[in-house]
């Protein structure tokens, strides 16, 4: 537990000193949103809710892939070996997942604010949409962190990260889009219980797998 805290502290400290990732990602997301706004060239009122929802999650998906692809980039090989002498691989992957989850929650919240500002906000159940956003960020970070670890072993090309993660992330994206559509329509929250459970189960599966498999990946 203390180890996880130390590693998290180290991640934040590194981020704070460079401020490369958070600035880069936020600029990436906001310029994507701005391009979408210009491309549609319309006020939010005329964009249909389904398009609004899908577009938003696609933007979040791409930002997530770009953010989390970087989570292993900063680590040079020698430093990796040093970390593994300090803590078990499980601790490292868990702290990476927590770190990228926090980062994704911040990025997606800021993205939602900017997106609503430019393209309007047709959501009826705001609190529930925020919960979905939180669960979605959590899900993205847990499965993408593991994929990023795999891609980093193979030279960390952006293309590899994308092709490895897209098919894996599809069930998650589909569940999230369905859930957030429910939130947009202001459906009774009890209606979405099944989807939330599936979402949590998917998260649990990926985190367990990451814990089980990462030790093999880090072995050199």
């Amino acid at each position: 537990m203390i180890e996880i805290k130390t590693f998290l502290h180290k991640e934040f400290l590194m981020e704070w000193r460079q401020k490369y990732l958070i600035n880069g990602v936020f600029l990436y997301t906001s310029s994507t949103i701005f391009i979408c706004y210009l491309a549609f060239n319309i006020r939010g009122a005329t964009i249909t809710p389904i398009v609004w929802n899908t577009l938003f999650w696609i933007i979040i998906l791409f930002s997530a892939i770009n953010t989390i692809a970087k989570s292993f980039l900063q680590e040079s090989n020698q430093r990796d070996i040093y970390y593994y002498s300090l803590a078990s691989p499980g601790v490292i992957i868990i702290s990476k997942i927590i770190y990228s989850a926090i980062l994704m929650v911040i990025v997606s919240t800021l993205a939602l604010i900017l997106y609503s500002l430019l393209l309007g906000n047709p959501v009826q159940d705001q609190t529930f949409f925020a919960i979905v956003l939180f669960l979605g960020s959590l899900g993205f970070s847990s499965s993408l962190t593991m994929v990023s670890g795999i891609a980093s072993k193979a030279g960390n090309s952006g293309m590899l990260m994308a092709i490895l993660s897209f098919p894996i992330i599809v069930p998650l994206v589909m569940m999230i889009i369905k859930l957030s559509k429910n939130a947009m329509d202001g459906l009774d929250r009890g209606e979405s219980l099944d989807e939330i459970l599936v979402l949590l189960a998917l998260n649990a599966i990926t985190i367990t797998l990451a814990l089980l498999l990462y030790p093999y990946l880090s072995k050199n």
Binding site: I150, P167, L213
Partner: protein
């Protein structure tokens, strides 16, 4: 008679497949609206998916074996079962598309099972790309084994859970008549189960042949290196 001990399942596969082709095309089938004679695709299309899943399972088993023991032969086993599984998946998708053309009117109608299988194939194509991007033999084996297990575990919800959350056009889903509903004379079932067994055995046979070729090639390369 030692060859019989090793080859009996290959002979069984050939016999079963002959039976599946002849019986599947000639035995009487129940006449059903829309499906009509296309119901015979059951003996060729569905076994491809069964075969694919079984081959991927074997591949995951060997991937786990590799991670436990670090022996490269398990990596050769694992990748060749995956490759054979991909062939089964492609054939299953093509046969399904031809069938869908005649029953649903379109090659691709966005059915959840169709989409799911397309994504499953994407996962395994990505697996092959990942293999191609790594040069060191040991690292390639380890990284792809990890991806194999990770991808397979995420494939399960894709294929088994998600299609059940929405209606599918496939027989047996969303109010469409299912396998059991038109299986009154059990003629279909008689061929179908044997066809599944036959196709799966053929898949395993293909994979073992490829494994042996790979291992022989490796030995030849080693020898050439030793000579030069």
């Amino acid at each position: 008679m030692t060859w019989m001990k090793q080859a009996w399942w290959k002979i069984l596969s050939v016999v079963l497949l002959c039976y599946a082709v002849v019986g599947g095309l000639l035995l009487p089938v129940p006449a059903l609206p829309i499906l009509n004679e296309t119901i015979r695709v059951l003996h060729f299309h569905v076994p491809m998916w069964f075969g694919m899943i079984i081959l991927f399972m074997i591949s995951v088993y060997y991937a786990i074996q590799f991670l436990r023991t670090n022996e490269l032969k398990y990596d050769v086993y694992s990748v060749n079962f995956t490759k054979t599984g991909i062939w089964f998946g492609v054939l299953g998708m093509l046969s399904g598309m031809i069938w869908a053309k005649f029953t649903w009117g379109e090659m691709w109608s966005g059915d959840p099972k169709q989409n799911g299988s397309a994504i499953a194939l994407l996962i395994y194509f990505a697996y092959l790309v990942l293999r191609g991007s790594l040069n060191d033999q040991n690292q390639r084996a380890r990284v792809t084994a990890v991806y194999n297990v990770f991808a397979f575990a995420t494939l399960i919800p894709l294929i088994f859970i998600l299609p059940r959350l929405t209606d599918s056009l496939h027989p047996g889903n969303g109010g469409n008549p299912g396998f059991n509903a038109y299986d009154l004379d059990s003629n279909l079932r008689k061929v179908f189960y044997l066809a599944v067994l036959g196709w799966t055995l053929l898949g395993v046979w293909l994979a073992t042949l490829k494994i042996r070729i790979d291992i022989i090639n490796e030995k030849i390369e080693d020898k050439e290196l030793a000579i030069s």
